[in-house]
Amino acid sequence: MLPALFWRRYLLSSWPWRALAYVFTTYLLLPFITFGTAMLALPWAAAASRFSESGMLDLGLLPWLISSAVLVVTIGPLVAMPLAALERHRLGIVDKRPIVTAHTSGTTGSPFARYMETALWRELAYLLLLAIVAPVIYGALAALVFLAFLLITSPLIAMAADDPVTLWFAEVGSFEQALPITILGLAMVPLIGYLLGLLSGGHAALARAMLTDTGANALREVTRSRARLLDAFDAERRRIERDLHDGAQHRLTSLTLQLAVARLDVTGGSPAAHALDKAHDQAKELMVVLRDLIHGIRPQVLTELGLPAAVAELAGQSAIPVTVTNLLGGQRLPETLESTAYFAVSEALVNVATHSKAKRAAVKLSMRSGKVVVEVSDDGRGGADPARGSGLTGLADRVAAVNGRLLLSSPPGGPTLVRVELPWSR
């Protein structure tokens, strides 16, 4: 809106009309806003009147002030939220840029979740600001418009009235006398056009700044797209794992079996027997290689049985005794979450084995307020530093990609605790 004011053809464009529509709808809204806010401020007004009567500040004012504050904080948001929604809608009249709510919790969530958002309190501030400032400014504009209306219609007023009428600065007696005043009134119209633009533009800029999301949503979208990408990677890994298993692994096992069968028919000690033995051994080695390869892509136990079983397997493979405590129950988590948590445990246990000199380690899987929490602790010498090992940094990156976080406590002398929190919305 505001840049349009600098156009040479501003008055001929659609913008003054848009501004008019915006300002007009504001007039329709204002009584409700002012009245509603005044209701909330009633105790405060009572306190003010008491103060003006007694002329001194005493403790008796306190309950009034507090009750007013409580009203504003509790009921205020209920008024501010629908108003903000309407205002964002109305913003479209004079602002063609995309308008995004700054609320992060959906409308389906608990109403209390909204009370925890900054967006809501910005909306409340907007309501209060509008209730206090808007009546003055919009009132002034209304007076100006009314004056222009009077000036323009002054010839008619002069004709209708018997006696000369005093209009602001001039006394008008007849139709002819009133004509210059009409011209003055008409001259005010373009000025009003600009004032409309200025007022609506200013109001809209304020609304955009206080009620919409200017940058955080874009960031959120980046996070989401990163998570989607990770999901796609996971699905692809799973497909490759399945293809390798159903195709290559199965055929290789069958081939190795056939080699063993062929060996049965060949007399021991013959060159053919020797060659078959070698082939059989090589095929068996290849089976191991392929199994490890598939496991590295995506562990089958994770795909088939879920996180707790896969973590138990990891614990079983570890060089030191690892206790696994699973408080997640049997529920399956989303694929990406499972593989991230698995990766975290795997990486942490590798660190325990290579750096910590620990005798025991423990893995705990649990759930706390919408988060899957993975904790890996050991009784080693501590002193783990994310800056030195790339393992922890890689893990932190992986965890950050699903919007989770990695916490590390590892004082010199130990013990070390790696805690990974992964948000999970069911």
Binding site: T253, S254, E313, G316, L327
Partner: protein, 217 residues
């Protein structure tokens, strides 16, 4: 020696035929080779074989169909020997299997073992003749695990479990240990998790936890 009548369940065609050939060669009578567990159950019901060999990962979900079928068959036909072939070591699979029936005539082997014919056939014969065969890899892991199921409990959790065994409610335990009831609940939850008692409605976990406690003290 009378030939052993075998039913084989494996969803991969190549391997299924390869195994069939091997079994016949070593004197087993393969009366059926099937690709999924429903036909396996049907064939077993009809033919009453001496031995069932089944893959674990089979259609439709490719997770633990084979294990579930094996447990069901063991329960319905206790005399039938069952050998399951697993893609990877899963202690849970092994223990589920060993807990059904009297724990004999059961085999749990990694699938890769089938290519070592002599050992594989020997394992099958052991199971058929009333023995139990568990893959060396599983045994290796079980041996490394801490034996005492209570070893993982913290001292506070042991106190809570001891009071639990005396029959106290969470509230009563809280009063005795000067902690809040929710804190007791949390300890009890940890005890269940550490003793490997999953949340189900079929069993009373408090009783199971107490039984574990009584067995070890």
């Amino acid at each position: 020696m009378e030939s052993v009548r075998v039913v084989l369940a494996e969803d991969g065609v190549l391997l299924r035929e390869g195994l069939s050939g091997v079994l016949q060669r070593f004197g087993f009578e393969v009366i059926a080779a099937v690709g999924e567990t429903n036909s396996l159950k049907a064939v077993v019901a009809q033919q009453k074989p001496d031995l069932v060999i089944t893959d674990i990962r089979m259609p439709p979900s490719f997770t633990d169909e084979g294990i579930r079928a094996a447990v069901e068959l063991r329960t319905t036909y206790p005399g039938t020997a069952v050998v399951v072939l697993s893609q990877y070591v899963q202690d849970g699979f092994a223990s589920t299997l060993l807990e059904t029936g009297d724990g004999t005539r059961i085999g749990y082997l990694l699938k890769d073992r089938v290519v070592d014919l002599a050992e594989f056939i020997a394992a099958l014969r052991t199971v058929v003749s009333g023995g139990t065969v568990v893959d060396p890899e599983v045994v290796r892991r079980l041996l490394r695990r801490p034996r005492d199921p209570l070893a993982d409990l913290s001292s506070r959790e042991r106190e809570v479990l001891a009071l639990l065994a005396e029959g106290h409610s969470n509230a009563a335990i809280g009063k005795r240990l000067f902690i809040t009831e929710p804190a007791v609940g949390k300890h009890v939850g940890n005890i269940f998790a550490k003793l490997g008692l999953p949340p189900t409605q079929d069993v009373n976990r408090r009783v199971l936890a107490v039984l574990t406690y009584l067995r070890t003290t």
